[in-house]
């Protein structure tokens, strides 16, 4: 899989927000590749820059934010600096996006069919009837019962899970090469989340779509993604295959994240916490942004760590990566 050229290649991307209070480096030197049929997890807490990374790929960063430098290559085509008109032809057709809150993504005053048909007709010269038929099929595909009737409904007549299915159906309409999913199951309850994850995995596998799954929930990534990038304060601090990263994290932050997930075999033991709080994006510590919360921080961490490869297929940004032998779980 890694041999064929990637569908999407993000290289040293910087997206900054120029606010009155100062410059926020939301995405600070982020690089990763996604291949066809691959699911890449982008994990991090709120404000780590994972969503902004997604919007940067879509070309949907609004002022005061802007992609400052770096490159986003989609099937060889450079998207950074691409004219809006050309970008619009890709958006929704070759690259689609699913948003976090299904209660907010669909326009409340437009019927589902309107919102689906306009997506089709924005990119293809097809008739209203043909578009309607495709919309109906797409709804059926994501498991919405009696799609014919549901097409005529308004968003408020659907539950949260159903709305997210509609959003996914809209994203799949043009069989895109890449889908950016920004925490699409966070707002849903766990059973619906499991159903949606299952459906998405199935659909992506069928169509060999590349998928970037943005989430703060490592346990979702564990069951879904092939590879994972852990983000902290705008940087990717660790990247590798999901199984490897979860089994043997090399970055202290990843270890902290994994340790704070409840697990069955640690019943009754208090959950580990990462000490301190995420730093203000306006006043990040110099050097490694995690050093103020890191149990292993040393003098060298005051300088910005470069990307190193402590073991094959694993990248990290840490001066003092955890040794392989060290147990993943503290205590």
């Amino acid at each position: 899989m890694a041999d064929d050229p990637p569908i999407l290649s993000v290289d040293r991307l910087h997206t900054h927000f120029f606010t009155k209070a100062g410059v926020v480096k939301s995405v600070d030197d982020v690089s990763f590749d996604v291949h066809a049929g691959e699911i890449l997890g982008l994990v991090g807490e709120s404000g780590s820059g994972k969503s902004v990374t997604g919007f940067s790929i879509m070309g949907l960063v609004d002022p005061p934010g802007r992609v400052v430098s770096g490159s986003v290559r989609f099937k060889g085509e450079e998207l950074v600096g691409l004219p809006e008109r050309a970008m619009r032809r890709l958006r929704g057709r070759r690259i689609a996006m699913i948003f976090q809150d299904p209660m907010m993504t669909l326009n409340p005053v437009l019927r589902i069919d309107t919102q689906m048909i306009e997506t089709l007709r924005a990119h293809e010269p097809i008739s209203e009837d043909a578009a309607r038929a495709r919309a109906r099929d797409a709804l059926g595909q994501v498991g919405i019962p009696s799609p014919d009737e549901r097409l005529k409904a308004y968003p408020h007549q659907f539950s949260g899970g159903m709305r997210q299915r509609v959003a996914i159906a809209i994203a799949l309409l043009h069989r895109p090469d890449l889908i950016v999913a920004d925490e699409p199951t966070t707002a849903l309850d766990v059973t619906i989340q499991a159903q949606i994850l299952f459906e998405v995995q199935k659909l992506v596998a069928e169509q060999r779509t590349a998928l970037i799954w943005i989430t703060h929930d490592l346990s979702v990534i564990a069951g879904l993604a092939d590879r994972v990038c852990v983000m902290y304060a705008g940087r990717v601090v660790e990247a590798g295959t999901v199984a490897d990263v979860i089994d043997r994290p090399v970055h202290p932050y990843t270890r902290g994240l994994i340790g704070s997930v409840p697990a069955r075999n640690r019943r009754g033991v208090p959950l580990a916490q990462i000490p301190g709080m995420a730093p203000s994006p306006l006043a990040l510590p110099e050097g490694c942004a995690f050093r103020t919360r890191c149990p292993d921080a040393a003098e060298i961490c005051r300088t910005t760590p470069g990307i190193t490869e402590p073991m094959p297929g694993r990248q990290t940004r840490c001066h003092r990566p955890l040794a392989n032998a060290e147990a993943a779980l503290p205590g």
């Binding site: 032809r89 958006r91 997506t119 809209i170």
Partner: protein, 332 residues
């Protein structure tokens, strides 16, 4: 649609019943209020009249009775569709008002039209480009529209366009055109030339209101997820703004426009006075001066009915614009 018709009928009937109650309460208040202000007979009868003449006039108008008896008589007449005769003109009050209503309605309609046609596009521009020079100019201009006194704006308009430039007449209604049996100054060129200044005057405040409301709604809506999702679908900016954004901001706009339409009709008084526009507003001011109670009461009944109708239409429009609103849920 059929499943929405029944609740709509129920809703309208309930609303109408409540309106009757509102009207009844309103008439009592106005009746007692005008009674308390003074005796119209002091104004109507010349000071030289003899005591006998005076007594006879009072008895003729029924003013010798206590006010609740007069109210009872009024109510009885009202149920027969009689709103009383004007003390001054000795004509049925309703007839006086209906004669002048078209003038006020066309003035109000023209003013509303101007404020929407100018206000919505300017508000959208200011909302979409808040940091541009044009956007800032529009917003500063709207502050002027808000804060300059209406009568002063009217006099300035007359001074500039009628006196200095001499382009437009300074007052009056002008020639009426006729279209499909309806007579209105909207159908003649001369009528328009008379209408344009008072309508602009009446529209200035509303335009500012529409601009600010549109801008605020645009800015609130433009950052919502569904707008971003619409962009992520690859829709053209035109479709995003004119379908996804505009349809949502119509909801607050329709509310305000509805309420304002009522107030434009009810409070065209100042503009009608400044421009000598022969509408209901001018009539009511004159009637208040001479305590012509039947005209005052009839005017207020008409205005209240107008407000009730407009509110009803607004609520029905809501349910059409916003599928989440069901008429059954609106507190009537």
């Amino acid at each position: 649609m059929a499943d929405r018709l029944l609740p709509m009928t129920v809703f309208i009937i309930r609303r109408l019943l409540q309106s009757v109650l509102v009207l009844a309460i309103m008439t009592v208040i106005v009746f007692a209020g005008v009674y308390a202000i003074g005796n119209p007979i002091d104004i109507l009868i010349s000071p030289d009249a003899t005591q006998a003449e005076r007594e006879r006039a009072i008895a003729d108008l029924g003013l010798d009775q206590p006010w609740y008896v007069q109210y009872w008589v009024f109510l009885g007449n009202l149920l027969q569709g009689d709103l009383g005769r004007s003390f001054v003109f000795n004509e049925p009050a309703i007839q006086l008002l209906l004669q002048r209503m078209p003038a006020t309605l066309e003035l109000a309609a023209a003013a509303m039209l101007i404020s929407l046609v100018i206000g919505i596009p300017l508000g959208m521009w200011a909302g979409l480009r808040p940091h541009g020079i044009a956007g800032k100019t529009i917003m500063s201009g709207s502050i002027l529209g808000f804060s300059l006194p209406n009568f002063w704006q009217g006099m300035m308009l007359i001074m500039i366009f009628a006196v200095i430039l001499g382009w437009l007449p300074s007052g009056g209604r002008g020639e009426l055109g006729s279209f499909m049996g309806i007579e209105s100054s909207l159908f003649s060129l001369d009528g328009w030339s008379h209408l344009i200044l008072p309508a602009t005057n009446l529209a200035l405040f509303k335009t500012s209101l529409v601009i600010r409301l549109t801008r605020a709604s645009i800015q609130e809506t433009i950052n919502l997820d569904y707008v971003k999702f619409a962009r992520a679908k690859g829709l053209s900016p035109r479709r995003v703004i004119f379908v996804h954004v505009l349809k949502n901001i119509m909801i607050p706009l329709v509310t305000i426009i509805g309420l304002e339409l009522g107030s434009v009709i009810a409070f065209a008084v100042v503009t009608e006075t400044v421009f000598a526009w022969p509408g209901m507003g001018k009539l009511i001011i004159d009637s208040i001066f001479v305590l012509d109670r039947p005209v005052i009461v009839a005017y207020l009944i008409i205005i209240v009915m107008m407000f009730i109708t407009i509110n009803l239409v607004v609520d029905i429009l809501y349910s059409i614009l916003d599928p989440r609103v069901r008429l059954a849920d609106i507190k009537a």
